[in-house]
């Protein structure tokens, strides 16, 4: 195990009620990396992220953040430790304004930090400043996605978990999202990215894991995976 691993999952089992979804999932994320997790619908990508974020409690296995076990911590604890998730269905506060959503995002931060982050987020997504007083639920899908990412950034994450940030977006917006991920990486934030758009994702990521029926099937650098026959056949439809 390498020293500077930010996150380590070791033989993690997890699921819903009686249904076990993850089977002995192991993966590592180094600080500063963008790591991709790809796989088919229902493979367990979201489940993996939810488990890391503390929304699900693993039934077996270890999850360590900087060498410290975080199993059993709630999502709020993990947010305080810098693990923040952009959820698949965004989980925005629909009835609140864009501004209020962003402020909520900095719930665990001081007022000073909040102002700073707000400026950064506005710089990243100018539309969020323009539409500060619009209700979140009336924003278009793409705008909502930006808001979700912006809200997560407000918590000043060290590790950002992103679940299908390009989902529901037109091809052009998809390009924007991937550009954003690049920029986030450049600010020093580590990203664990889940995407169905395997090609794009693997191109963007430093490393990747392929998950199938709740088991890690393959891993390697983005390019290695892109070159793998298995991946090409199963996930890229080539």
């Amino acid at each position: 195990m390498r020293r500077n691993n930010l996150l380590v999952l070791d033989q993690v089992n997890a699921g819903y009620g009686g249904l076990q979804v993850l089977h002995e999932v192991s993966l590592e994320v180094e600080a500063g990396e963008v790591v991709a997790l790809v796989g088919a619908n229902g493979a367990g990508k979201t489940t993996t992220l939810r488990t890391i974020a503390g929304l699900l409690v693993p039934s077996a296995g270890r999850i360590e953040l900087e060498g410290e076990s975080v199993v059993g911590l709630g999502p709020h604890d993990l947010v305080r430790r810098g693990v923040v998730m952009v959820a698949e269905d965004r989980e925005l506060f629909g009835a609140l304004t864009v501004y209020e959503n962003l402020v909520m995002g900095a719930f665990t931060r001081s007022a000073d930090e909040r102002g700073e982050s707000l400026d950064q987020v506005h710089e990243l997504f100018p539309i969020l400043e323009e539409r500060a007083q619009q209700k979140a639920e009336t924003m278009s899908g793409g705008q909502q996605q930006m808001l979700a990412i912006g809200r997560a950034l407000m918590a000043r994450p060290r590790l950002l978990l992103m679940d299908e940030p390009s989902m529901g977006l037109a091809p052009k917006l998809v390009a924007d999202v991937f550009a954003t991920i690049d920029r986030i990486r450049s600010t020093g934030i580590t990203v664990l990215l889940v995407e169905q758009n395997a090609k794009r994702t693997l191109e963007t990521a430093d490393r990747g894991y392929v998950i199938e029926s709740g088991e890690i099937h393959l891993s390697g650098t983005g390019d290695e995976l892109l070159a793998s026959d298995d991946v090409r056949r199963a996930y890229l439809g080539l």
């Binding site: 088919a40 619908n41 977006l169």
Partner: protein, 243 residues
Amino acid sequence: MSLLEVTHLSKSFSGLRAVDDVDFQVEAGEIVGLIGPNGAGKTTLFNLVAGRIPVDTGRVVFDGEDITGWTPHAIARRGIGRTFQLMRPFASMTVRDNVTVAAASSSPRLETARELADAVLDRVALAGMADEFAGALPTAARKRLELARALALDPQLLLLDEVLSGLTPAEREPLLELLVEIADEGRALLLVEHVMAAVMRLSQRILVLHHGQLLAAGTPDEVTSDPDVIEAYLGEEEQLAGS
């Protein structure tokens, strides 16, 4: 006369024109693809045809009968089956019963309906899971259950909303064959799909929706080479990947 004739169909949601003056036809036995960017109005169009939401203006004529304003269940029984983008199984019922419901809605005898349901399950390769609870099915099986339920209505027209998405190419293949087979029986298919490879292979015609309006219509090749479509939907890369 076409099986389905949609004329001047429009629908707005508090000012947003989700479907805007759309005209098209579907012939019996035809497979028609419906593509377009997210939010283009594809699902809304399905919902209008299936009677799930009331139309603002325009008409839907099916098999010579004006079905505009009909309730969804009446339309279903009249011969239009549909699947949902977000699947809606009867979670605490068994797979067989899920399908039996649809079969029984137009057959007064439950036994006949059960037999029909079993036959359909056989076709979609779910027979082995017939006694499991629908809520416990994996995604791929759920997609097939959606299809089975629609098929059990013995429909003349099937509205399929992304039945292939989320399936691996290996899983897709048998389903594609099944769809072709279904069309060969004389049923028409109207399918919304983002998996361009599949759409291209299956469809005889493709309709492209953009901002609620019909942007283009034609054979797969015509459509995919249309610069407007590339601009609005496919993007340069997708076009390559698709072909």
